[in-house]
């Protein structure tokens, strides 16, 4: 394999192999979330018994947690920008911030799920419970995996393991994180905001 | 390693053609014994007739294409087989006009078939007519229940019978609307000589209308795998002239 001046392997398209892999993975993941969202939308208003979305949704609360996740994408961008300029300290701060904001989002989800549970919405209660918990649950799992990746990168960077030349790794983590955020925007809009 | 077998020359043309003929023979033979209970070509009703017509429209061009391709392959292998191992033929890369021809011609044929196809879909997919006789069919593992909501006994209960007990009767020449319900899994209601099948899906109200053109006993069976005894979930529909049908109804209601 030939090495270009940057030290990265030359590719026929010019895109790094790992970056192309991440884009393909995210494209594939669109189908994954799309299928769950489709199931939710198909079964909207078809639950035979309550509780129903309008009984439970707290739009102001969920809006705040959506905003938190959105802000975590900003901190992610700042983390990438820092390491691209060789600023390891900045990377560490913003990586941690992203993970923390993500964790705050997850905490909000956990709170929301607990509230709904106490109001009588279980996985097996009705179509709404099934489709809602599974869709948002998988999204939450994606966010959690993202947090674990961010924290791993944070720890590695504390040991000096991430330098300016390694910024691709942060870029890949960023792509994943932004994707997860965008999926939430879609879910929030279609499931919470747009009520028939 | 030289064996007797490696010296054997199997003439490709003869074997190819033999298999081709075998296939066509089987195809022709299939038309012979039409008296089998679920033969989709032995149509006894308007719906089955029209569906068989659609099949014939596609079948004849398909057979023509099959003969062209299979015969063509056999021909090409014989005509252009290697005679001189050093001969390298002219390197033809393609021919745009041919490409257009064999893209457009099939497209025209396909779309040509699509027109009568769509017409038949709408013709057969119409709502049942107002004066169709309604039968509520319930599929459950592994039998069928037929309920005639407009035929009531002295207590006002509709006539109801199970496929396990005997055939469902219908009058000849009258449209019958089968309203399909399932109490468990998906089944498929199918009486081939009268018409194609329609699935019986829980929470879905499928309606299949059929008309029997002549009297007879028509065999059917469940056509969607539904579990252990799916193979035995059979049914029979008996079509009778109006008076005989009425006699049957009276006899059923008397029980």
């Amino acid at each position: 394999m030939s090495h270009a001046a940057t030290g990265h392997l030359e590719t026929s398209t010019g895109i790094d192999n790992k970056k192309l892999l991440m884009w393909l993975f995210l494209a594939s993941d669109c189908l994954f979330f799309g299928s769950f969202i489709a199931a939710y939308l198909l079964y909207r208003d078809r639950s035979l018994v309550g509780p129903y979305p309008e009984d439970l949704f707290d739009i102001p609360f969920t809006s705040v947690s959506a905003f938190v996740l959105l802000m975590s994408s900003v901190s992610m961008v700042l983390a990438l920008s820092a390491i691209q300029r060789g600023n390891v300290r900045g990377l560490q701060i913003w990586l941690f911030a992203t993970a923390a904001l993500g964790a705050l989002f997850i905490a909000g989800q956990a709170y929301e799920f607990t509230e709904f549970y106490h109001e009588g919405l279980r996985l097996d209660t009705n179509l709404f419970g099934t489709t809602f918990y599974v869709l948002t649950g998988f999204h939450g799992a994606h966010v959690t995996i993202g947090i674990l990746i961010l924290l791993s990168l944070f720890i590695v960077s504390l040991r000096g393991g991430i330098q300016q030349k390694d910024s691709l790794t942060i870029e890949l983590a960023g792509l994943y994180w932004h994707f997860v955020d965008i999926v939430w925007i879609v879910i929030f809009t279609l499931i919470y905001l747009i009520q028939p | 390693m030289k064996t007797a077998f490696s010296r054997l020359r199997l003439p490709p043309r003869r074997v190819f053609l033999a298999v081709l003929l075998l296939g066509l023979l089987m195809l022709l033979l299939s038309g012979c014994d039409t008296d089998t209970p679920q033969n989709t070509f032995d149509t006894k009703g308007e719906v089955a007739d029209k569906q068989a017509d659609v099949f014939y429209w596609a079948m004849w061009p398909a057979i023509a294409v099959m003969i062209f391709v299979l015969g063509g392959c056999a021909f090409l292998l014989i005509r252009f087989r290697e005679r001189d191992p050093n001969y390298v033929p002219p390197q033809i890369h393609g021919n745009t006009r041919m490409e257009l021809a064999w893209t457009i011609a099939p497209a025209v044929l396909m779309l040509g078939l699509a027109v009568p196809m769509v017409a038949t879909i709408f013709d057969l997919g119409r709502e049942p007519s107002e004066d169709a006789m309604v039968i509520n069919v319930t599929g459950q593992r592994y039998s069928w229940t037929f309920e005639y909501p407009d035929i009531l006994d002295a207590d006002g209960n509709p006539l109801s019978l199970s496929s396990l007990g005997g055939p469902a009767h219908i009058p000849v020449g009258q449209e019958v609307a089968f309203h399909l319900h399932s109490t468990d899994v998906i089944h498929s209601f199918w009486v081939p000589k009268l018409g194609g099948k329609l699935d019986v899906v829980p929470n879905v109200n499928n309606v299949l209308w059929l008309i029997a053109d002549e009297p007879g006993s028509f065999s059917g069976q469940c056509a969607e795998y539904c579990g252990l005894d799916h193979a035995n979930m059979r049914l029979t529909v008996v079509a009778q002239p109006e008076d005989e049908f009425q006699a049957w109804v009276d006899e059923q209601l008397a029980d």
């Binding site: 639950s47 | 077998f5 002219p90 899994v185 329609l198 795998y225």
Partner: protein, 642 residues
């Protein structure tokens, strides 16, 4: 993640380095367990797929024995239902897909002039995960009481329709094994899909533009895109089923108001692209074989490529044709009827181009060519019966009958399997340095051709005579007896032909006639390197100037396309003298090091699956295995440092 240096070398890392050294001995089992070489992974896939072909074939023989006579009592209803479920699931997921993967692995890097795939360890992971899924799925047989004839295998059909797939209708663990096994297999395919897209897009030799790639590479690319977009849909359907079966969710529960057709929509949205995933690699293989044995280029290369791409796109718009009889209505049925009729067109274009490749050629009737032509002929029959299915009203009679069984066996067996056998005969010399015995190859072909047509042609007839699918027996007054008997005889004929193939394969490995680098006077890059290829494939990355670059090095064309020998053309890398084999190391080529992390990570999946069925305590164990494997994968260097 590349190039993140971990300062300390832990004891664990030392042990793993030792294990990797053990793997340097090419004949050790460690070298196979830790291989990341695409050629070895290809062999692993091929051997495994063939093994499951025998298993699935055995299942078929049992089914055909039961159906040979009416009111058969070879198998009871329960056994039959489980065996047809496993036959279908095995043939689709454990035979055709992995055999195609074997060819992707063996051939794609060689065809594009690369040393390996983009992600060698991900490649190994795909294989080990596939094997885990395959073993997990088949383990279900033993969870009943197999010695008393009670099979634990799944019994919902390979398509597992709802609500039959719910606990209350298919109790027992069989369906759970199916649900989780197919899920695991899907992830394995997905990983492979990503790998081959990146490999093909990013690792082509200099000068090999997309339109200078061999057709097999193009078909791999299209197939891989279909995989990465279709597998997530079935994954979601299987997750939804899992929540229903394990946790009482309501995705497919009619009592909660669910629509069981949701399952079918999702299954077929995956399922239709899946059948193109099954056939496109086969189309790619015959697109390589036909030109080589006709000594002419593939006729209409751009059209063959574009029709493959068109099929890829159009395959997403036809899924409802598997559901015409579910009652979706006249508009849906019409729309999908039209889209289905249209997808026949690009397929027809390919058939005509293949025939035109043969026309005017100088055809050597070797075994690979026979299988390739057999594919064209048999797929045409299957495609034509498919056209009759697309005519919606007649499909109302054909759906769920043996007419459909005939159709898909013509396209999947007559199409894909024949082509895959052709590929084996074609590329066997490259990987072993020996030919398979050609006369016995012809015997295999004709016997299989005869047996195949005897088995499946009568099914067109029994289907149109009203014989439904998936029935464990039928009565003698239906008029189906003769057709079923012929089918059963044909099935055993196929088995005989496959036995002949197996004997030929094994004997040829040891005593086949020697083959050099270019035994067929080929056109593509794999014939420029020794047979078998060295680890590193190409001593120097080739410089590509055209489509069929190697052919053009050997033969020049005048303006009329007439062939003249090329000046100094057709350099083949010389095979090393015995005892002086060059290694990657001696040539200064860095090859990826063996790794056991993919195997370790893959083991976590069946562990989780077993835990979900039997004991939740196993779930964190499996998750830990995955995490350990992934962590080790991330931390170890891809190439051993000097």
């Amino acid at each position: 993640m590349a190039s993140i240096a971990v300062p300390r070398r832990s004891a664990l890392a030392q042990a793993l380095k030792g294990a990797r050294h053990a793997a340097e001995n090419k004949s050790s089992i460690w070298s196979w367990l830790g291989t990341v070489d695409h050629k070895r992974i290809g062999v692993l896939y091929g051997v495994s797929a063939f093994f499951f072909f025998i298993v699935g074939g055995g299942e078929a023989l049992l089914l055909r024995t039961q159906l040979a006579r009416p009111d058969g009592n070879v198998l009871d209803a329960d056994q039959f239902n489980r065996l047809f479920t496993m036959h279908g699931t095995t043939m689709v997921f454990l035979v055709v897909m992995p055999m195609s993967a074997a060819f992707f692995n063996l051939m794609v890097p060689l065809l594009i002039g690369a040393r390996d795939v983009a992600f060698p360890r991900l490649n190994a992971f795909s294989y080990w995960l596939f094997l885990c899924g395959a073993i997990f799925l088949n383990a279900s047989f033993f969870t009943g009481d197999i010695f008393n004839g009670v099979l634990g295998a799944p019994d919902g059909g390979w398509f597992g329709y709802a609500p039959l797939n719910l606990n209350r209708y298919t109790p027992g663990h069989g369906m759970d094994f199916w649900m989780l096994g197919v899920q695991i297999l899907g992830i394995a395919s997905l990983a492979g899909g990503f790998n081959f897209i990146v490999t093909i897009l990013n690792m082509r030799a200099p000068g090999m533009t997309l339109f200078r790639m061999p057709v097999f590479v193009w078909m791999t690319l299209v197939t891989s895109f279909l995989i990465i977009f279709a597998m997530p849909v079935i994954a979601v359907a299987l997750f939804e089923l899992m929540f229903d079966r394990l946790f009482n969710a309501n995705f497919f529960n009619p009592d909660a108001g669910a629509n069981p057709l949701l399952w079918q929509h999702m299954f077929w949205l995956f399922g239709h692209p899946e059948v193109y995933i099954l056939i496109l690699p086969a189309f790619g293989i015959i697109s390589e074989i036909l030109p080589t044995f006709a000594r002419k280029p593939l006729f209409g290369y751009p059209f063959v490529v574009f029709s493959g791409i068109a099929i890829g796109f159009m395959s997403w718009g036809v899924w409802v044709h598997h559901m015409y009889t579910t009652g979706l209505g006249t508009i849906a049925n019409s729309a999908f009827g039209i889209s289905t009729v249209l997808i026949a067109i690009p397929t027809g274009v390919k058939i005509f181009n293949w025939m035109a490749t043969l026309a005017g050629g100088s055809i050597r009737l070797k075994a690979p060519l026979m299988f390739a032509v057999g594919t064209v002929a048999m797929f045409t029959i299957g495609g034509l019966s498919g056209v009759t299915h697309s005519m919606v009203p007649s499909d109302y009679q054909q759906q769920d009958t043996y007419y459909i069984v005939a159709h898909f066996h013509y396209v999947l067996f007559g199409g894909a399997i024949f082509a895959l056998f052709g590929g084996i005969y074609y590329w066997f010399p490259k990987f072993t340095g020996r030919f398979m015995n050609d006369p016995w190859g012809h015997v295999h072909f004709w016997l299989m051709f005869l047996g195949f047509n005897l088995t499946f042609f009568p099914m067109h007839i029994s289907g149109l005579l009203g014989m439904p699918r998936r029935i464990y027996t039928y009565s003698g007054d239906m008029g189906w007896d003769m057709w079923n008997l012929i089918s059963s005889v044909g099935a055993f004929t196929i088995a005989l032909s496959v036995s002949i193939f197996m004997v030929n394969f094994i004997i040829s490995l040891r005593r086949g006639e020697r083959a050099g680098a270019d035994p067929w006077d080929g056109r593509t890059l794999e014939w420029t390197i020794p047979s078998p290829p060295p680890d590193y494939n190409f001593r120097e990355t080739p410089q590509v100037h055209s489509l069929d670059d190697f052919w053009h090095q050997k033969y020049a064309e005048d303006a009329n396309g007439r062939v003249v020998p090329a000046l100094g053309g057709g350099a083949v890398e010389p095979a090393a003298e015995h005892g002086h084999e060059e290694t990657a190391h001696s040539l200064g080529i860095h090859m990826p090091s063996p790794s056991f992390m993919p195997l370790i990570a893959s083991l976590g999946f069946p562990c989780i699956a077993t835990g979900l069925i039997y004991d939740y305590a196993l779930v964190p164990v499996g998750a830990a295995l995955i995490l350990v494997g992934l962590f080790g994968w991330a931390m170890e260097p891809a190439t051993e440092e000097e």
